[in-house]
């Protein structure tokens, strides 16, 4: 215990604790969203009118055309946004930069692979004219976006080749948030927007924003209503009322090393909270989502379930055999220090592929976890079907999960 | 003219007193030999005079207090020839000697500087090595180069630290001859720390005998080099032969315990 405290004190002293913003105060960061809620609609027009005649407080986002004044022109702009006909759209990106996009956008270059998937879900992959080398070489993309792997490469996401980008004459470049300013400097006259999807909320936020940019609001809505929210809300509803004792204790280990687990600021914590589990290391507060802990702590906390991530190359898209996942599971079950832990004794050790993470396939991951944690509550839920739906419905891809790809071990039928 | 006047000089390394209360005078055209056993402070004294080490006491160069002189000024007055020099860098002999012109040069090398280097090389008979790498020369040749370098400083006094220790017989004599000739022909003086008593006897005009950091005796070779003095200072039994121009010291045996008596 004392060692644990020392680790905590050390980490708290040496790092900044960053807590993610709660989902409840989500504001859509597009200028025109005067009432600071999650959408741009008639209510915003009403709100701006209220500002003009003094009944409402000024908000930053009420200045829809970003000219420094709040007036009739902003109302016109909001009306255009609602109808999808605006010429310019100003929004706040993930790097807190204010970016003005000139519509229509017809030539996009996404640099990070997660962002390119946004295009797919919104049916806009034909607008992608160039991709980073990471995307080109990605197995995932081979599977569900093969046309994107044919697009010309513009270098890596970290060191892009500016000349190649300029040569493709794009009107929008989607960069990783920390690199956005640098790219902007080196690509004069090209709009650069910075995205940094590190949590499911941010991913959704970006999806919505891109929906506005590309006039694909309906497609974004469709994804949210008929896929994301549908499953996430379903799972939440059933786990909400669970008491502490009904929530199994879970130890989650990352793919990057033994006893490298997740802190309270990680997505793993969120996943467990939503799927009805108790994260045994939720007291770890740190700037980083990772932390290496002492194996003894795991023994002491005696988790009911162990979930381990396996690296992308070992299983996932393009890998049909389960041997690596099996071997990993066996390795965990054979760890002498874990021999008496409930999870090992009962065989509740699950391997999950790192392909499934906090991107747009988040509901799939959540479904698997929910199923493992509460099989009785989710008998009607089949994560693989959800996954298949994700692939077929949103990417038009024929990858048959019954025949191909390994994403979890042991396979659900055997659990 | 009194070239160097040293008064009340002492020097310590930390708490070790190396030199104590020294008084020395060096005149025009004079070769002054510093003799004494190892550890008597000869090398330290040379370095103190050239301000490589900072002693207590006063040193006057042609009447000027050395403490009031800038480094460059001292370099124009005193030319230091170290015992040996191995340069880690590879330099040509010419460039090594040219270094001696530093106290007189700006950044640009003047015609005059080159002339001076060439003259000095001729004087010491080392022209053939001009563009060779300094490190490739033999000990004797290197020593000549170092003397040449010091000469290029156009000093009033040459300070030599054991100029002959690493040399063979021929070169020992050559170097000593050159120094004595220089001193005789110009009004340069030389102060040299030397351990070979016979070379000291033959080539020095005045000898200063150091024992344990203090001056034991000063005088010309004839009066100074007696078996009594040598026994006291070196702890060695010798026979002094007077039949040559200058005294010749022949060592007989070391005294018991090796420590000097008296």
């Amino acid at each position: 215990m004392r060692r644990m405290v020392c680790v905590l004190v050390l980490m708290s002293c040496m790092s900044l604790a960053v807590m993610p913003a709660g989902a409840s105060d989500y504001t859509l960061g597009i200028f025109g969203n005067a009432n600071m809620d999650d959408t741009i609609d008639e209510d915003d027009i009403a709100y701006v009118e209220g500002i003009i005649d003094g009944t409402n407080e000024r908000t930053e986002l009420a200045d829809a055309n970003y000219d420094g004044k709040i007036d009739e022109e902003d109302i016109t702009q909001i009306e255009l946004i609602i109808s999808g006909g605006e010429k310019e759209l100003t929004l706040i990106d993930s790097a807190d930069r204010i970016v003005t996009v000139h519509k229509p956008i017809t030539r996009i270059i996404p640099l990070v692979d997660r962002d390119a998937k946004l295009m797919g879900v919104l049916g806009a992959e034909d607008k992608v004219v160039g991709v980073s080398s990471n995307i080109r070489d990605s197995i995932e993309y081979e599977i569900y976006h093969p046309e994107l792997t044919e697009r010309p490469s513009v270098g890596s996401w970290y060191t892009p080749d500016y000349e190649a980008i300029l040569s493709l004459n794009p009107d929008l470049v989607i960069a990783y948030s920390t690199k956005a300013a640098e790219l902007d400097e080196n690509l004069p006259d090209i709009t650069v927007i910075g995205f940094g999807s590190s949590t499911p909320e941010i991913t959704i936020d970006q999806l919505v924003k891109v929906g506005y940019i590309l006039d694909k609001r309906d497609e974004a809505e469709h994804y949210l209503e008929d896929f994301h929210d549908k499953y996430v809300d379903l799972i939440k509803a059933r786990t909400q009322g669970l008491s502490e004792e009904d929530r199994p204790k879970v130890y989650v280990e990352s793919s990057s090393g033994d006893y490298k687990t997740y802190t309270s600021t990680s997505v793993a914590q969120q996943l467990l909270d939503t799927s009805g589990g108790r994260h045994i290391f939720s007291e770890l507060v740190s700037h980083s989502p990772f932390a290496t802990i002492d194996p003894e702590e795991v023994m002491v906390k005696n988790p009911d379930i162990i979930i381990k991530y396996i690296p992308k190359g070992d299983v996932g898209y393009g890998v049909d055999d389960t041997s690596k996942a099996e071997a990993l599971r066996v390795e965990i079950m054979n760890r002498p220090e874990l021999a008496n832990v409930t999870a090992v004794k009962k065989g509740h050790v699950y391997i999950v592929s790192s392909y499934l993470s906090y991107g747009l396939d988040y509901p799939v991951l959540l479904a698997y976890w929910a199923k493992w944690l509460h099989p009785d509550l989710f008998e009607d839920l089949d994560p693989q079907t959800i996954h298949q739906e994700y692939l077929t419905e949103f990417f038009g891809c024929n990858y048959d999960l019954n025949e191909h790809g390994v994403f979890v071990y042991p396979p659900l039928e055997e659990c | 003219m009194v070239k160097i006047k040293i008064k009340d000089l002492s020097f310590s390394y930390g708490s070790n007193k190396i030199l104590d209360d020294l008084e020395i005078v060096v005149g025009d055209s004079e070769v002054l030999g510093l003799i004494g056993p190892n550890g008597s402070g000869k090398t330290t004294l040379i370095k103190c005079i050239d301000r490589i080490l900072k002693p207590k006491g006063s040193i006057f160069l042609d009447g000027r207090d050395i403490k009031t002189m800038g480094r460059q000024d001292i370099a124009r007055y005193l030319g230091y020839v170290p015992q040996s020099s191995s340069s880690v860098l590879s330099t040509t002999v010419f460039d090594t000697i040219l270094m001696g012109r530093r106290p007189h040069m700006g950044w640009r090398v003047a015609e005059e500087d080159i002339d001076r280097v060439v003259e000095t090389m001729e004087l010491l008979n080392i022209e053939e090595f001009a563009l060779k790498d300094f490190n490739e020369l033999s000990g004797g040749q290197k020593q000549k180069v170092l003397v040449a370098r010091a000469l290029c400083q156009e000093p009033e006094v040459l300070l030599l630290d054991e100029p002959t220790s690493n040399l063979d017989l021929k070169h020992q004599l050559e170097v000593m001859e050159i120094i004595r000739d220089l001193v005789r022909k110009t009004d340069i003086s030389a102060v040299m720390a030397i351990h070979d008593l016979n070379l000291a006897s033959r080539y020095a005009d005045t000898l200063v005998m150091l024992k344990e950091g203090r001056i034991y005796a000063t005088g010309d070779p004839v009066s100074l080099l007696t078996s009594g003095n040598v026994r006291s200072v070196y702890g060695v039994e010798v026979v002094v032969i007077d039949s040559f121009e200058t005294p010749y010291v022949v060592p007989i045996r070391s005294l018991n315990g090796g420590k000097a008596s008296g």
């Binding site: 900044l16 040569s167 | 040509t92 270094m99 002339d115």
Partner: protein, 357 residues
């Protein structure tokens, strides 16, 4: 004097003049080499534009009536390529001169701007900015400011430690090594608490890259070099003398400690200015002076400027290869220069001759 002696003397003088003249010639060749290499480098890149278009765009800036270029070519040449090429030139020059000076004043053939712990300190500054967002100058200059300040801090600490024990090559090198280990350890700790993206960013930063160059940065480095170089050149004789030993140098009138301290300060300043923008690019400061010494000898009056020219060639060459060999993937230039170092040291090892180290 007798005629033969007069002839001999004239011969010797002439030989020496030719000897010196050869060195000027070599520097001229290096200089031309830079111009040629820069000319070639400016024409290389992913954009599909011809050599003629590149030069037309360059000339169009100075003679707008006779040459013109499209917006595209102009942007590529003036906003992307040229300042990167020039950054390689001035950066390589600065690092090489810094290395040559350090090798001279420390009498150590393996000295480089990074021997005194400078690189590790810069890396730490960058990590601090990237992982903890903490630093001296806010906004986009956070990393740059940190790297610069910590570099100088490291030099200052080395100086402080050395002063305590005497400013000799040995104490400075030992102090430098201690500083290097200190900052490396602190950087490792930051990497440990960082997220994987942050760690990756730190690693990439430390590999060195010219991709963040800009005209203002090139200008700044040029100004710093222009201010520091004259002093260093002026002190070339002193550095030469120091090579013969501290005592000899003192006897020749050199203020050994003073020169050592000021040179170290200038070297740190030059290095800090360059690596705060480019990240830690190794080997140029080590290899360029060596290679130059092999052709031009150890006289610092020539070695310093010639090393600078050689450094420019090396860095420009390395960067050009780094950005074209796997186009459009751009390799960090620090990797290229590290590859440079390997065959060079193998070569030194094989030669086994005492001269030139």
């Amino acid at each position: 004097m007798p005629p033969e002696t007069a002839v001999k003397k004239a011969d010797l003088k002439e030989e020496y003049t030719r000897f010196v003249g050869r060195k000027f010639l070599i520097m001229l060749i290096f200089f031309i080499g830079i111009i040629v290499l820069a000319g070639v480098a400016a024409t290389l890149g992913s954009a599909d534009i011809s050599v003629g278009e590149v030069y037309a765009a360059i000339l169009a800036k100075f003679f707008p009536d006779h040459f013109h270029a499209t917006w595209f070519v102009d942007t590529i040449v003036w906003k992307l390529r040229l300042h990167r090429v020039l950054m390689a030139v001035v950066g390589g020059m600065g690092l090489a001169v810094a290395g040559a000076v350090l090798q001279g004043i420390l009498k150590n053939p393996l000295a480089s701007p990074f021997t005194l712990g400078i690189a590790s300190a810069a890396g730490f500054g960058a990590s601090l900015a990237i992982v903890l967002g903490a630093g001296f100058v806010g906004g986009e200059y956070l990393i740059v400011g940190n790297a610069f300040v910590f570099t100088l801090l490291a030099s200052f600490t080395v100086y402080g430690l050395a002063k305590y024990k005497g400013i000799t090559p040995e104490t400075m090198i030992l102090a430098g090594i201690a500083i290097m280990y200190l900052f490396s350890a602190m950087t490792s700790f930051l990497q440990y608490v960082g997220t994987s993206e942050e760690v990756q960013e730190v690693v990439f930063w430390m590999m060195g890259s010219l991709g963040r160059s800009s005209w203002s940065k090139v200008g700044l480095i040029t100004v710093v070099l222009a201010c520091c170089m004259p002093y260093l050149l002026l002190k070339s004789w002193d550095i030469n003398a120091m090579g013969a030993g501290d005592e000899t140098a003192t006897s020749l009138g050199v203020n050994v400690e003073g020169v050592r301290v000021i040179c170290m300060a200038l070297v740190s300043l030059i290095t800090a200015c360059i690596i705060c923008f480019t990240g830690t690019i190794g080997f140029i400061g080590l290899v360029a002076p060596h290679m130059t010494r092999m052709v031009i000898g150890g006289d610092h009056r020539f070695l310093l400027p010639a090393s600078g020219l050689m450094g420019a060639i090396l860095l420009l060459g390395a960067d050009t290869v780094a950005r074209t060999i796997l186009a459009p993937v751009i390799l960090p230039v620090g990797i290229m220069t590290a590859f440079l170092g390997v065959p060079f040291f193998v070569y030194l090892f094989m030669r086994r001759r005492k001269e030139y180290w």
